[in-house]
């Protein structure tokens, strides 16, 4: 019986190793051919250009970072406050309505987020900001912010609820108001859980492809809020089906995958270190 558990555990590890090795093997040739500096810091991506192709992914990297940061800036305050509301403030019947709604939000497929963004958000941005087309970094940020809400809310709510009651009672007994207690006592005590929620949100936002493929416009511009942009993920998703096997274009797409993989690895390592330090401290 023990053996079966072990085999199952090894299967997961084997897949992680397999994907890592595969990405490194298939991602390195293009980086070597283009040159690491030109690849990472080149500002022009024009892989289908027949006379003068260029493979600089700085626009994608910056777009992914800005997009994720923007989603966090919008999503975390809303998510955190919702979690406080659900865990502490909301009367039972209200929480019983909001909580399933949040869970439902987590269950909506990303393509549906993209579709709604395309039909509602993009035209709205176009008319509001008076730009020729609404597909933009801003649209992607809003869609991502909504998408990361459920994970932020549910993880921080769990963290807030796990704070021992005695802390709050002590604070209240000392004369602090309820709100002071939630923000000065409960939230700091739950900060590692809330940090985990934020990192989870970052992970989801940086890895999302389908929804932003539909609202971001997909031109490899250097990012600006109201222009059409391409993310690391959408660069791969959009071009993979057209890149001939063995071509530099396809290899470069693998290299983008490798960069994305390293990003997510860094986020995970950061999360682990952060959580560990908090536990010890």
């Amino acid at each position: 019986m023990k053996g079966i558990f072990m085999v199952c555990g090894f299967i997961a590890i084997a897949f992680v190793l397999l994907i890592t090795v595969y990405l490194i093997i298939s991602g390195l040739p293009a980086i070597r051919e283009v040159g690491l500096i030109d690849f990472l810091f080149g500002t022009r991506w024009d892989s289908a250009n027949q006379t003068d192709p260029a493979y600089g992914i700085l626009p994608f990297i910056l777009t992914s970072i800005y997009g994720t940061a923007g989603a966090i800036v919008i999503g975390v305050p809303i998510g955190f406050l919702t979690a406080v509301f659900l865990a502490k403030v909301a009367p039972q019947p209200v929480a019983a309505v909001i909580r399933p709604a949040v869970d439902l939000l987590a269950g909506i497929p990303s393509v549906v987020y993209g579709l709604v963004g395309m039909m509602v958000l993009v035209p709205w941005i176009r008319t509001t900001f008076d730009v020729p087309a609404g597909d933009s970094l801003l649209a992607a940020i809003v869609v991502l912010a909504v998408m990361i809400l459920p994970s932020i809310i549910s993880v921080s709510e769990t963290a807030l609820k796990a704070v021992p009651k005695e802390y709050e009672e002590a604070s209240l007994a000392l004369g602090a108001t309820e709100l002071e207690t939630y923000f000065r006592v409960t939230a700091p005590a739950a900060k590692s859980g809330i940090a985990a929620a934020v990192v989870l949100g970052v992970g989801r936002a940086i890895g999302e492809a389908m929804a932003i493929l539909m609202v971001a416009g997909n031109v490899a511009n250097m990012p600006s809020l109201l222009s059409s942009v391409k993310f690391l993920t959408t660069a791969i998703a959009g071009e993979m089906s057209y890149a001939a096997v063995g071509s530099l274009q396809r290899n470069a797409l693998y290299s983008i995958g490798l960069v994305l993989f390293l990003f997510i690895m860094c986020i995970n390592v950061f999360l682990n270190v952060f959580l560990k330090r908090n536990k010890e401290g």
Binding site: D46, Q50, M118, P123, P132, D135, V219
Partner: protein, 303 residues
């Protein structure tokens, strides 16, 4: 009370499941019957095929086609009709892009390559032979609210290169032009850029990954211009005249509509096709298939 409600609900659901089963059983049942029927006819057919080869319904085998995603509809229709003539032949289609289609035909990874553009000299030198099965017009589409009706190829090129940026320069209402296109590698984009002469020099506002996305976004944006297969253009957008010619089946076929491209089946010179593949190719090129090709939205040159 609650218990009863639960019970009732679950019974309804269970019933729903059962009816679902019944339906699917019915269809799969008939499908297997069909299959066994075709199987028997084709097997008897193949025994007779050793003596006579020309009558229909006596071939078996698999034909692998791969290439242009734009040709999906045409190939699907041809496959369907061919199945009635030669039920023993299975036609597979892989949408991998025109370049991959030509490459597949040359390297032998597929029987027939599909390309939604004319072959270039390099490919022809490599032994690729083109068979034009259909013509496809690339329509230039704008929003229905746009007053512009007629553009020259030159004007279109300037719009897509970003030299004309406002509709007022073309006689329309004041508004910055939003230039929509397909993603790099798309057959429609390749065809459009090559015909209009803007290869690698387009300044797109947005790039979309499907024809439907382009049409949908042009339909919702009064300042947009885009391109799409003529067959995909419906009432939601307006296809402008090019050099005064309305894009239609007739104008594509007689060549007066300038922005058009051929749908090509590619074979390799000197390599003999399997009997089934040859029959499929002959069928696609015959006058019999013409009406089916036009049903798929393209224009057959062989009618």
């Amino acid at each position: 009370m609650k218990k009863f409600a639960c019970l009732g609900l679950s019974m309804v659901m269970a019933l729903g499941l059962m009816t679902g089963c019944g339906n699917s059983n019915g269809t799969t049942g008939s499908a297997t019957e069909d299959e066994s029927a075709t199987g028997s006819t084709s097997s008897t057919g193949s025994t007779t095929s050793q003596s006579t080869t020309t009558t229909g319904g006596n071939l078996t085998g698999t034909v692998n086609t791969a290439g242009s995603t734009s040709m999906k509809d045409v190939v699907a229709v041809l496959t369907e009709c061919f199945a009635e003539i030669e039920p023993g032949v299975t036609i597979n289609y892989t949408g991998s892009g025109s370049g991959a289609g030509v490459e597949g035909a040359l390297t032998g990874t597929c029987d027939i390559g599909l390309a939604s553009r004319a072959l270039n000299d390099e490919e022809k030198a490599g032994g690729a032979v083109e068979h034009v099965v259909a013509l496809d017009g690339v329509a230039i589409v704008v929003n229905t609210a746009n007053a512009v009706e007629d553009l020259t190829v030159d004007q279109i090129a300037q719009i897509f290169k970003g030299e004309i940026t406002n509709w007022s320069e073309l006689g329309g209402a004041d508004g910055e032009i939003a230039v929509f296109g397909r993603e790099a590698g798309s057959g429609t984009r390749g065809a459009f850029e090559e015909i209009v002469g803007v290869v690698d020099s387009c300044a797109y506002t947005n790039e979309y990954s499907s024809t439907g996305d382009v049409i949908g976004n042009v339909a919702s944006n009064p300042n947009a211009i885009g391109y799409a297969s003529l067959s995909a253009v419906g009432d939601t957008v307006k296809a402008v005249k090019v050099n005064g010619v309305t894009p239609s089946e007739e104008t594509v076929k007689d060549g007066t509509y300038e922005i058009q491209r051929p749908f090509v089946m590619v074979t390799k010179e000197g390599t003999e096709l399997s009997e089934a593949a040859q029959a499929f190719l002959d069928f696609a090129l015959s006058a019999d298939s013409a009406e089916f090709i036009s049903a798929a939205g393209a224009v057959s040159p062989n009618a």
